[in-house]
Amino acid sequence: MTTTSLVVEHKIIQRTSIARRIVMGVIFLALAAVIFFVFASSTHTGQTSTFGMTPGGITQGTLPDWIIPSQFTLLLISVMVALLAAYQLFRGFGKWTNAILGVSVLLFIFAFLTYASAGQSMNLIGIFRSTILLSVPLVLGAFSGVLSESGGVVNIGIEGMMLMGAMTGSVVGSVTKNIWLGLIAAILSAVLLALLHAVLSIRYKVNQIISGTVINIFATGMTTYLSEKLLQPLQYLNQPPLFPRIAIPVLADIPILGPVLFNQNIFVYAMFIALIVLQIALFSTRWGLRLRSVGEHPKAADTLGINVFKTRYMAVLLSGAMAGFAGAYFTLGSVGHFDEVMTSGKGFIGLAAMIFGNYTPIGAFLAGLLFGFADALGSKLQILGSLISPYFMAMLPYIVTMIALAGFVGKVHAPDADGAPYEKE
């Protein structure tokens, strides 16, 4: 009995891996075909793509422009991807498949950039820099989600918490003329909203989606109300200081990496620190194990003496703090004043990044970076007059998240007790 079931299981695994191998191979082949038939065939011989290597306003770590022949490069890339596809179809990369998928996608993006800038010039470093800047709120928002959902509490109120943090940061920063007080106030205001979410969903066991929606409606209404009633007539309430760019010595002089990563404001550095701290804390400390156990199986955690309610409160409040920090980025790190509904759905893209990143900090970071890149590229393409509308680029994060969720590429694993209120017996 046991042996037969084992054999059956083995067969199923083999079959799915064959199906997966072929699906992946076809995907690679499709990428190669698009590069060859769409990109390469619409460029002419002799056309060149110019990639600018000078970020605006930064003098450290610059390089001369990089000029490549468009058509030759595209043909070369399409042949490379086609070779990868052939190997995948006939032999298979096995456990390296996902890595090769990543490589092919990167090659595809590079091919697309080459095609889009054929006969023109595109500031590559500029795109990378804005990718980082645009992904900061997405990544921090996704981290906020990871914190809360690891503990088993769904948080779709990230958008509202970010919005509240953005306004509070701006007002307190303007009134006190102290940017750090503004930052702290932004975090605290979002933590207060998170406390509301926690009390509603943990103590009163309100459906967590409803509770999160309430946070969003409340924050949108409240910030818009206060902005119209107070910030517009009293302009001095909405002129906070802005965090300056800090060039890290030595590192900022590295070509490409320097201007992109090491010559940014504290929000960017904080994002990287948060990534490392969260990844280690969640998966390599006792604290993280407890948090995740509460998210996966609260009853078992309770039996082992972990205080489920306390742990969940902590998770939601930390999530709020992260969202407030992300919100402060808008007013104190980027725009310099508060606009009504200025988060414009960034919290929801953060949510998407969290899911696409499979509920882990590193995954959320990479997904947020990808979505930020799509955003940066979208606005760049609009300037270059490309065929692809920026609205379609803006849809990309949501579409790929739905595909990931459906399990077409790999299975997303949410914490098991995510969204279920815990009832102590």
């Binding site: 409803i210 309430v214 009633k229």
Partner: protein, 434 residues
């Protein structure tokens, strides 16, 4: 028989019991007799609304400069300034949404029919603004009854509006009695498609409908912005401004009174649809299947109900209702689509379904309240210079108190009812794990 099979059988027995229960005791909300049931059906919402308005009053007091100036003079002056600010705000809300008593009296004194008409325009306008809420509230309520959380009403609304707009201006030469229903149903179909996708994904891949509908909302918003600014819905010579051409007069939902009164047939269509939803949900086997899937998936499976089919059906129907809301706004009120076609109907609809306890009649009354609040808020902005967004704050508090009745109970010291509440069951983030 090994242990596992035994356990499975026990579970099946359990679900059979639940099914029998559902069969023999129809939903509580159908017969709201008895003191305890009345409490949860009427008292809690009434207190929630009252408390929400109270919170709004506090917000008005704290953000009115007159109040601070008054308190600078003396405590009593400050107090009366606070009272004055709130009374001014809420009386203009009443005048703007129901009627202005003094205008009504003068209108009847002069006896001119146009004066009388315009004196009652506020309440008619409230009905106009309640109409889309009825559709969207029904959309969420139908989802709740089927155990699904359709948070994608906003997106389905956008798609419904876009499709109705297209049919409204592109199909020429049709008589009104065909064109208008066609455009309206096309909008419903557009919404249904947008609801079908997450429903299908849930049934076939287990992808959670909450996440998928949130994603579909943003896809819909970007898609319609593209359609309006550079796609097929773009108005010629609009210079890239995201606005569609006007729908043809034959596609417009007829209005009952001359301009500026906008009261139109859509309100009665909404009431008819509400009755239809009630009839389908509570009077047909079809609706019974939907509700059984919503109440208890394993019981439904035990009874041989096709879960996948019902999930897809429920999401598509819910989307169709949301699409009707979009069509109604385009064909009845706006006559052309712009990106500001929705005033957050999708998210408010969750509140409406909760407020109406997910029953069609409850949703209709909740929508009337929402219509009154939103329409009155416009007047409140003009006469008392209170930003419209205060309504969102009030609404947020109403949802909190409805969703967490324990909060209201502890504030007003109401005894906890012994009868279990008729709460709609919702799956968790990952979906049901039966």
């Amino acid at each position: 028989m090994d242990n596992k099979t035994k356990k499975n059988l026990e579970q099946l027995d359990e679900s059979g019991k639940i099914l029998l229960d559902e069969l023999s005791h129809p939903s509580l909300s159908l017969k709201p007799g008895g003191k305890q049931k009345k409490e949860s059906v009427l008292l809690i919402p009434a207190l929630a609304i009252f408390t929400g308005l109270l919170v709004g009053a506090i917000l008005i007091i704290f953000t009115s400069p007159e109040v601070y100036q008054g308190f600078a003079v003396s405590f009593f002056t400050g107090l009366s300034a606070a009272g004055g600010a709130v009374a001014n705000a809420y009386s203009s809300l009443f005048k703007g949404s129901i009627f202005n008593p003094s205008t009504v009296i003068t209108a009847f004194q002069t006896g001119k029919s146009t004066d009388i008409m315009s004196a009652f325009n506020p309440i008619l306008e409230s009905l106009v603004s309640a109409t889309p809420y009825i559709f969207t509230g029904l959309a969420v309520a139908l989802g709740f009854r089927s155990g699904l959380f359709n948070i994608g009403v906003e997106g389905q609304y956008y798609i419904g509006a876009a499709v109705a707009t297209y049919v409204g201006f592109a199909f020429t030469g049709l008589p009104a009695y065909i064109h208008m229903p066609l455009a309206f149903l096309a909008g419903a179909l557009g919404g249904a498609l947008w609801g079908f996708i997450p429903g299908w994904l849930k049934a076939k891949t287990g992808g959670n409908e909450v996440i998928n509908t949130i994603m579909m909302n943003w896809i819909a918003i970007n898609l319609t912005t593209w359609l309006l600014s550079s796609g097929p819905l773009q108005r010629p010579n609009s210079n890239g401004a995201p606005i569609s051409p006007e729908v043809l007069p034959t596609a417009q939902i007829p209005r009952f009174f001359p301009a500026p009164t906008r009261f139109h047939l859509g309100f009665f269509i909404a009431l008819a649809v509400a009755f239809l939803v009630y009839w389908v949900l509570f009077r047909t086997t079809w609706g019974f299947d939907l509700r059984t899937v919503g109440a208890n998936t394993s019981a439904a499976r035990y009874a041989g109900i096709n879960i996948s089919k019902n999930i897809i059906l429920a999401m598509a129907l819910s989307g169709a209702l949301a699409g009707m809301a979009g069509a109604n706004q385009i064909l009845g009120v706006d006559h052309a689509m712009s990106t500001s076609v929705s005033a957050g109907y999708g998210f408010d609809s969750i509140a409406l379904a909760l407020l109406g306890n997910s029953t069609p009649i409850g949703v209709v009354f909740a929508s009337l309240l929402w219509g009154v609040l939103n329409n009155g808020a416009t007047q409140m902005m003009f006469t008392a210079s209170i930003p419209i967004s205060i309504i969102s704050v009030i609404q947020a508090f109403i949802i909190i108190f409805i969703a967490a009745p324990a909060v209201i109970r502890s504030v007003y010291r109401i005894r906890i009812s012994k009868v279990p509440e008729n709460q709609v069951t919702l799956s968790s983030w990952r979906g049901d794990k039966s």
